[in-house]
């Protein structure tokens, strides 16, 4: 059972763990450097042996801590989930130790997180893009990346050399409509969320 005693014994053995909340499941946070050690402990001692999900959150360009890596573990014995937050210390080149040696399932999840957020995982066996093509220059799930996309060269260099074709952004003309929900009535009308962005704007890093 995931009860008070479980939480206490987990905290007692590890100074680096903090409990964030227990809303839908026990959520702990730790410094990225302790992640493999804690995962190993949770897998071998606490039966959380199924890594169901590994992803990241971008808290926005302005945020003090920009990226957090989030892991979800499941225990077949406790029949319960456990969430781990690891806040990346460096906003510009976020680096987190890989847990793929503990959970082989993390291999592809970490590649996806690198692909979408640009978070690097040290000691990952094969850290390259998984959903986008290898030469793709941006990290699409970062908040400053526009929904429409950014013009980039075609993944096939030989084709674009002959045709001059690029991968063009796809502005969502007229939709999806969302109201910002704040401000004056005239400003709160539903509008395309992404209309502020155009090809002339400064491209994301």
């Amino acid at each position: 059972m995931i009860d008070e005693d479980f939480v206490k014994s987990l905290l007692a053995g590890h100074d680096c763990i903090k409990v964030v909340h227990q809303d839908d499941c026990l959520t702990i946070s730790c410094e990225p450097e302790y992640l493999p050690k804690i995962c190993l402990h949770l897998r071998d001692e606490e039966t959380f042996d199924l890594l169901v999900d590994l992803t990241a959150i971008d808290h926005g360009v302005e945020a003090e801590i920009r990226f957090s890596v989030v892991l979800h573990l499941y225990s077949l014995i406790h029949k319960s989930y456990l969430r781990i937050h690891a806040n990346c210390l460096d906003n510009d080149c976020p680096l987190v130790p890989s847990v793929s040696s503990v959970f082989p399932a993390a291999n592809w999840h970490e590649r996806e997180t690198f692909d979408m957020f640009g978070i690097k995982f040290s000691e990952h066996p094969n850290l390259k893009r998984i959903l986008m093509w290898d030469d793709y220059p941006y990290f699409p799930l970062r908040k400053e990346f526009p929904l429409a996309g950014v013009e980039v060269p075609l993944p096939a260099a030989d084709v674009s050399e002959v045709t001059g074709a690029d991968v063009d952004p796809a502005p969502m003309m007229g939709g999806p409509f969302v109201s910002p929900g704040t401000g004056r009535m005239s400003n709160a009308e539903p509008r395309a969320k992404d209309e502020s962005w155009s090809e002339d704007a400064e491209k994301p890093l």
Binding site: A105, P140, F177
Partner: protein
């Protein structure tokens, strides 16, 4: 006419041919567009004769950026996108997504809504498994079973069409309920269908289960051990075929699954044949669940009535009452109002555990929505599983894993 005969030993020809080979390994590319890969999966393989020595899956050919899109629209606007994850069981995806968002709110769904959701989830499971088993047989060289399963699946799609208005892209759930009540007389049609379905399953079993060719092609092929299955995060029928007793409908019941009695089939060896057997039995168990749901279908509303900022009021009230009109306008423009917080929910979908990790900062638009696709995790074992098998086993292994690239690439 005189003829001369020359005696040739097959062994001599083999030895002669072998002397020309220099022993190099061959690179073979399968996909991205290939009947075996059930979509757009690409495999880069290294062959030593017929033996696969290395296999690198390449994904992303169907990547649409669903998670980015989700951050830019209201909760209800995203429901149609969930159809296109596992497009062989869109109803189950709709339900999983709706439950995730509802977990952040405190609304109580009426019993009828939950029963409808269980019913459509199990119908989606039958439809997905029927297709999965049919094409699996076809991958192993048996064309006929596919005809039986596809005929039954067609009947299901007619039922889906009557319920939702669409055969494929159902978009049936809303946050806080389902789109509309069950059509009149629809339940009896479903009952008739599930009464007749076991006969078709028996036919398929007669054609496949004890078929010598099918057994030779699937038994002992693509064996996933219990430890490997857990380590690689495999879920659903593929995990249970490896002997792990994990079914979220039993272990973490949602939408009232605890009210219904059913068994969870578990495999022993974890090979392709076990995965087939588990799916066959799951269809039979789903039939049992559907019969129980129909027998005990509660009356009442199909949406949470008190969820005024989440579920749009009925159409006739919008047209006649000012307050309901405003309520509807706010839900359409600003989205269902969901409090800040984070939630992770997994539903036992036909392909495995479909998870949604939702981070909300309040309001009608998610701040971050991560889709944990079962096919993505199930395929990650290919790098380890495939090497050591023959080239012809690839079709059987891929068929038995029953994946959908729509949700794998998202």
């Amino acid at each position: 006419m005189s003829t001369t005969t020359k005696e040739v030993h097959i062994g001599d020809i083999g030895a002669q041919a072998a002397s020309h080979l220099d022993g190099d390994k061959m690179a073979l590319n399968v996909g991205p567009s290939h009947p075996t890969t059930h979509g757009v999966l690409r495999l880069l393989m290294e062959l030593d004769g017929d033996l696969i020595t290395n296999c690198q899956p390449v994904l992303g050919y169907l990547h649409r950026g669903d998670e980015k899109i989700a951050e830019n629209m209201t909760y209800n606007q995203f429901v149609p996108y969930t159809d296109r994850l596992d497009y062989l069981a869109p109803l189950a995806n709709n339900v999983a997504y709706a439950i995730t968002v509802e977990k952040l709110t405190d609304i109580q769904l009426p019993e009828r809504c939950e029963a409808i959701r269980v019913l459509i989830c199990e119908m989606a499971r039958i439809s997905s498994h029927l297709l999965g088993m049919g094409v699996f047989g076809m991958d192993a060289g048996a064309w006929t079973p596919f005809m039986y399963t596809f005929t039954e699946r067609e009947k299901l799609y007619t039922l889906f069409e009557e319920l939702t208005g669409a055969r494929f892209t159902t978009s049936f759930t809303r946050i806080g309920g389902v789109a509309r009540d069950l059509p009149e007389g629809w339940l009896s049609k479903v009952e008739k269908f599930v009464d007749e379905l076991p006969r078709a399953i028996d036919e398929v079993e007669k054609l496949l289960t004890r078929n010598r060719i099918f057994l030779d092609r699937t038994e002992g092929i693509g064996t996933i051990s219990k430890d490997d299955a857990i380590a690689f995060g495999i879920t659903g029928p593929n995990l249970r075929a490896s002997g792990v007793d994990l079914d979220l409908r039993k272990d973490k019941p949602y939408s009232g699954y605890e009210k219904y009695e059913f068994d969870v089939p578990i495999g022993t060896k974890g090979d392709c044949y076990d995965r087939y057997l588990v799916r066959i039995e799951e269809v039979r168990q789903s039939i049992l669940i559907i019969k129980q749901v129909i027998a005990s279908m509660p009356g009442g509303l199909w949406y949470a009535e008190d969820a005024r900022k989440i579920f749009a009021p009925p159409k006739e009230k919008i047209m006649t009452s000012m307050e309901e009109l405003i309520q509807n306008f706010m839900i359409v423009t600003e989205g269902p109002q969901v409090p800040a917080g984070e939630v992770y929910f997994e539903a036992e979908n036909p392909k495995g555990a479909l998870g949604f990790y939702l981070v909300s900062k309040g309001g009608g638009v998610p701040y971050r929505l991560k889709i944990r696709a079962p096919s993505f995790c199930n395929l990650s074992i290919l790098e380890k599983l495939v090497p050591g098998h023959m080239l012809s086993d690839i079709t059987v292994i891929l068929g038995s894993l029953d994946f959908v690239m729509g949700e794998c690439d998202r």
